[in-house]
Symmetry: C2
Subunit: 225 residues, 2 copies
């Protein structure tokens, strides 16, 4: 009995450790998004380059989280919901690593943009970025806490992201139409908006997995509607 | 002894079945990419809409592949390389589903483009699309066969994709600069090039996972360079 308790306790500790690592990785990629956008707005090339450097750390963390999950699977051989939780942890891990990649893309475009005078005061992009970061944070919290309601909030935010993206698209189009000299810069900004949209998609994917994990078959059915 | 053999045989059959399902899903998303590009080039709206319809089928397959993998994990409780193979199968599965999503995005842009006169004869986009489809196919084959050399071919193709993308980018930029009326169409085409690049990224991700799966720690170290 005491041995069983001990095993369960160790297992819980391992899961807690895994979740902690995923949250730590989430913290890094959230900072990468924030720094990449800050670099763009402040015209800070060093900050943009630091985001690109962070990518290594995220890659290392991805491997370490995968490795932890695989070790727990191998040692504990969990079934049912714990098994799904662990396989999902690995998928969340992949989403986080790709969010990091996308923050690197934002920094690359920002560095290109720094070589030319700024196109316009950035208003909607920071708003889109702030919402995107919130979605990533909420998606991870919903995973760690098993909080379906929070996951639903993330999924609902995706419409707002679409609206912001459309608004940015229209504004940039107006610039390009009005002055051909702005085209290259406007396209880079448009790509940054697309990257933010993609990050929001990753957060939405995580939130959908959380909903599926918690609610099981019913949502799964809806998902393949 | 006979029982063990029976169990091993059943397990091998289950793995083979899982790989078959992943290849089938791969076949669908390859067709989706091909059809989405054909729809663009031929101006075939019905074909574009059929790609969007296929998304359901891919979503269903994703759930079914995940479910198969989780069932094998639960029943067989594999360790070491088999465990990594199964966890990787689930990641490949996610990449395939997102390739399907991206083919849908191509179709959406194609439908928008059909509402206006074609911008230019499409030469580089079909080349980029053909290479992308080859990469997806090779990446899946490398996974199913455990073929590292083929995986390396996929990874090497990514440079060619980048070069094609840059060429398309420059050409479209020239169009936009020369005639502001082409801007909206050129941007949609640019997005299609970006989508193809993203699909190639997914194929590269799969190929990198295959390399890691087969070669283990060494590649993992390189990966976090």
């Amino acid at each position: 009995m005491r041995t069983n308790e001990h095993i369960v306790k160790r297992y819980d500790e391992e899961l807690a450790e895994l979740k902690k690592e995923i949250l730590a990785m989430g913290g890094i990629v959230e900072k990468m998004i924030a720094d990449a956008m800050r670099a763009l707005i402040d015209g800070n090339g060093d900050l943009a380059r630091s985001v690109i450097q962070y990518d290594r750390e995220v890659n290392r963390k991805e491997l370490s989280v995968d490795s932890m999950a695989v070790n727990i699977l191998a040692k504990r051989q969990p079934v049912a919901r714990d098994l799904r939780l662990l396989t999902m942890a690995m998928k969340v891990n992949t989403d986080l690593e790709r969010i990091g990649d996308t923050a690197v893309n934002i920094s690359e475009r920002s560095l290109e943009l720094l070589e030319e005078p700024p196109l316009k005061p950035y208003v909607d992009l920071p708003r889109m970025s702030a919402l995107t970061q919130t979605m990533v944070k909420q998606a991870l919290d919903s995973f760690v806490e098993g909080n379906v309601k929070l996951a639903q909030t993330v999924i609902a935010s995706d419409d707002e992201i679409d609206a912001l993206y459309q608004q940015i698209f229209r504004e940039l189009l107006t610039h390009m139409m009005g002055d051909a000299k702005t085209i290259t810069r406007a396209i880079r900004l448009l790509f940054i908006a697309k990257y933010l949209e993609r990050i929001a998609d990753h957060a939405t994917n995580i939130a959908e997995m959380v909903t599926y994990l918690i609610e099981g078959e019913d949502v799964r059915h809806l998902d393949s509607r």
